[in-house]
């Protein structure tokens, strides 16, 4: 029974990680930009969720579309205003730029919210769902399931819609896409907006699970980059698999060998990279072939 419990924890953890990591991997796939500000976006969304919940008592889950949209607009603005201008200088510069964005956002959040933990506690935050001996905390269940559903929706949209296909075309071959009339600036802005929107949605989901304060962004970005590297930069299915592997690793290690859980988390990444240097689903980039 214990093993089923651990699997359930790992699966739900993986669902949240998958949604969060997909934003990072999508932005990289289309733009070659490593968005190290994703953690700051997440915390930004979570703290504003707290603010609205605290002031008006709104059910936090209702804020999912609102925060998704707002962060999407913010992401779009950051791309148009900054990333687009710096991108020609190479990926190294955009990493530094996004690092700067992350620190600036953290500073702003510190000014607005102070250096204190904020917790969103809707009535169900300590509830759990019991099947036999299996206990599944309700916030984790909601977040894990919504994480998978929303990510599935995004994936389907990217596969099936014209805009999604245009975006993937741009990711595969910018010049070719431009030849058939796909504006690379538009696809790139769109990709950045979706990536940021996943952080908007993810922030709401995190807010009902963990206390948040501005510097928690570091925990999250470290974890997300680990997942994306493991799954392969640029691949959404890779991000999902990476999330599940690391969610499971974390749940198992915390149950059986907690003292070593960090080692297992990063050791797993290291081991997989030894055999698959581009991650599980990562494609070789052009530089490697040349």
């Amino acid at each position: 029974m214990e093993i089923v419990q651990v699997l359930a924890f790992g699966l739900l953890l993986g669902g949240v990680y998958a949604l969060l990591a997909s934003g990072v991997t999508l932005i990289f796939g289309v733009l070659d930009v490593v968005n190290v500000a994703q953690g700051a976006f997440l915390v930004f969304s979570a703290l504003f969720t707290w603010q609205i919940w605290d002031a008006f008592g709104v059910e936090p889950l209702l804020l999912i579309p609102v925060m998704g949209f707002l962060m999407g607009v913010l992401g779009w603005g950051i791309y148009r205003g900054m990333v687009m201008r710096v991108a020609p200088q190479g990926p190294g510069m955009t990493v530094l730029l996004m690092f700067g964005v992350a620190l600036t956002l953290e500073g702003i959040l510190n000014l607005i919210f102070g250096n204190k933990f904020k917790s969103v506690t809707p009535p169900y935050f300590t509830e759990s769902f019991t099947i036999g001996q299996l206990v599944i905390p309700l916030p984790q269940l909601i977040s894990g399931v919504l994480g998978f559903l929303i990510l599935g929706g995004i994936y389907a949209y990217l596969r099936l819609s014209w805009a999604g296909r245009a975006l993937r075309a741009s990711a595969q071959n910018k010049d070719g896409a431009a030849l058939v009339g796909i504006s690379s600036v538009k696809s790139a802005s769109f990709a950045f907006a979706i990536g940021a929107a996943t952080a908007g949605v993810g922030g709401v989901l995190l807010s009902i699970m963990y206390p948040i304060y501005p510097a928690t962004q570091y925990d999250w970005i470290a974890r997300l980059l680990g997942i994306v590297v493991l799954g392969g930069f640029g691949s959404i299915p890779g991000a999902v698999i990476g999330s599940l592997i690391l969610g499971m690793t974390e749940a198992f290690a915390n149950t059986y060998l907690p003292q070593w859980s960090s080692l297992f988390f990063y050791g797993t990444i290291l081991l997989i990279l030894l055999f698959r240097p581009h991650g599980l689903m990562g494609a070789k980039t052009r530089e490697d072939v040349a």
Binding site: V6, G92, T255, P258
Partner: protein, 437 residues
């Protein structure tokens, strides 16, 4: 001690981000890495004005004010507790100056910023001693910074009373001039709780216990010491685990602990991990009859909001200071702190610790009737001092010999339940712990 913990947590986050950036840099084939610059920012002397204002009020001593040199992390990682410590020192200076000063002379604080840097703190104290030629020193904040500071003080034979800095590492060098001005070093934080348990009637004593702690230099020793003391008392250990600082989701631990059904759960928690364990225990529906956590419960409403108001009822923790403690001078300190920083503002524990450190130094000066640091050192080794934290005394290497306060959340507020002299409610404890809300 809670801030110390949080800062350590933050450091590991910064390391995490550095690692993350390194990964990102590799992936993006970034060719240059940027060193964000030396942390040793230039530290301009910021002599406290509180003292000089008071001094203008009619100090006629030909010798001028007694100058006390202090380095504090006013910027950088530790700026939050560093700034609180500054407020504590300044509150003390105002009060002592308003009461005629030390040995009839006004007191002037010379405060430098060490930017939370171990290099800068050494420069600062050397500068205070050789350039500023201060008469006395007071310590900086955290073990990390007081460790190098203590070596400077030792080399110059100057007494250094530190408001935070109880790491065993500092005492390994057998310092003669260093004094840690809290009640106890980390391993002894558990004692008041263990004593409380020993005094419980037999039917309330725990028979089994679960111990879980973050791998943190201030949390783990508390829990380890508690475990060995309780095992000696015959309390059977049914679960014992250590987890790394990154762990914020304690659900797997709560499941295992609930399955072991311990009477007592003791956790070496910093903050998020403490919140997560409580929430997870509620979720699995397990309520122990005794629950002790380090640090996390001392965060007031941040803690109660995070676990759901009411769920804190009955949780124990150890702390160095309480705004309600009936210790001498405590009310005066709070009033002065509020006068300087805002009405209704409850001082942080860090401010109170700094205030107490200054009280210790002042007691030694009054006790010896002079500013000879060797005499001050001998006096402190031989005497105990009444402070707002309670009575403090030290062994031959400056380790405090007292006990922390044992606090318990009781019906929405914090009560100090032990030791007897500091109790805010006559020592009433709520055992067994009430049900979750």
């Amino acid at each position: 001690m809670n801030h110390v913990h949080r800062r350590l947590g933050r450091r590991s986050r910064v390391v995490g981000l550095a690692a993350a950036l390194a990964v990102a840099g590799l992936v993006a084939s970034a060719c240059s890495s940027s060193d964000s610059g030396s942390a040793a920012a230039s530290a301009a002397p910021a002599a406290s004005s509180a003292a000089s204002e008071a001094a203008a009020g009619g100090d006629t001593s030909a010798e001028g004010p007694i100058r006390i040199g202090i380095s504090l992390p006013l910027t950088g990682d530790f700026s939050q507790p560093g700034s609180e410590a500054k407020k504590g020192y300044e509150a003390w200076a105002s009060i002592i100056n308003a009461n005629g000063g030390l040995l009839g002379r006004q007191v002037e604080l010379v405060i430098l910023d060490d930017a939370s840097s171990q290099e800068q703190v050494v420069t600062d104290y050397n500068n205070l001693i050789s350039q500023e030629k201060v008469d006395l020193l007071l310590g900086t904040f955290s073990s990390l910074l007081n460790f190098p500071a203590s070596t400077v003080a030792e080399n110059n034979q100057m007494v250094l009373v530190a408001p935070a800095g109880g790491s065993p590492k500092i005492f390994e060098a057998n310092p003669k001039f260093y004094f840690f001005a809290q009640q106890a070093t980390a391993p002894n934080q558990a004692n008041p709780f263990v004593n409380m348990i020993a005094a419980l009637p037999d039917d309330q004593k725990p028979k089994t216990a679960a111990y879980v702690t973050q791998d943190d230099p201030f949390a783990a020793p508390v829990i380890e010491s508690m475990q060995s003391q309780l095992e000696e008392m015959g309390v059977k250990t049914v679960y014992s685990e250590v987890y790394p600082p990154e762990t914020t989701n304690l659900q797997p631990f709560a499941s295992k602990i609930a399955a072991a059904k311990p009477d007592l759960i003791a956790q070496g928690a910093v903050f998020e991990d403490g919140v997560s364990l409580v929430k997870s225990l509620i979720q699995v529906g397990y309520n122990p009859s005794l629950l002790f956590q380090t640090s996390a419960p001392s965060n007031g409403s941040q803690f109660t909001d995070a676990i759901g108001t009411g769920n804190e009822n009955g949780i124990f923790y150890a702390v160095s200071w309480s705004e309600k403690a009936p210790t001498p001078g405590n009310e005066e300190f709070i009033a002065e702190y509020q006068k300087q920083n805002g009405e209704g503002l409850v001082p942080a524990e860090d401010a109170a610790d700094a205030y107490a450190a200054a009280e210790v130094l002042a007691a030694a000066v009054e006790g010896t009737g002079g500013l000879d640091n060797v005499a001050l050192k001998d006096w402190l080794h031989a005497n105990s001092v009444e402070t707002i934290l309670g009575q403090l005394s030290w062994d031959e290497i400056g380790r405090p010999q007292g006990d922390f306060l044992l606090a318990q959340w009781q019906d929405g507020s914090v009560e100090i339940v032990a030791p007897e002299g500091a109790s805010t409610n006559g020592g009433n404890v709520i055992v067994p712990k009430p049900a979750w809300q």
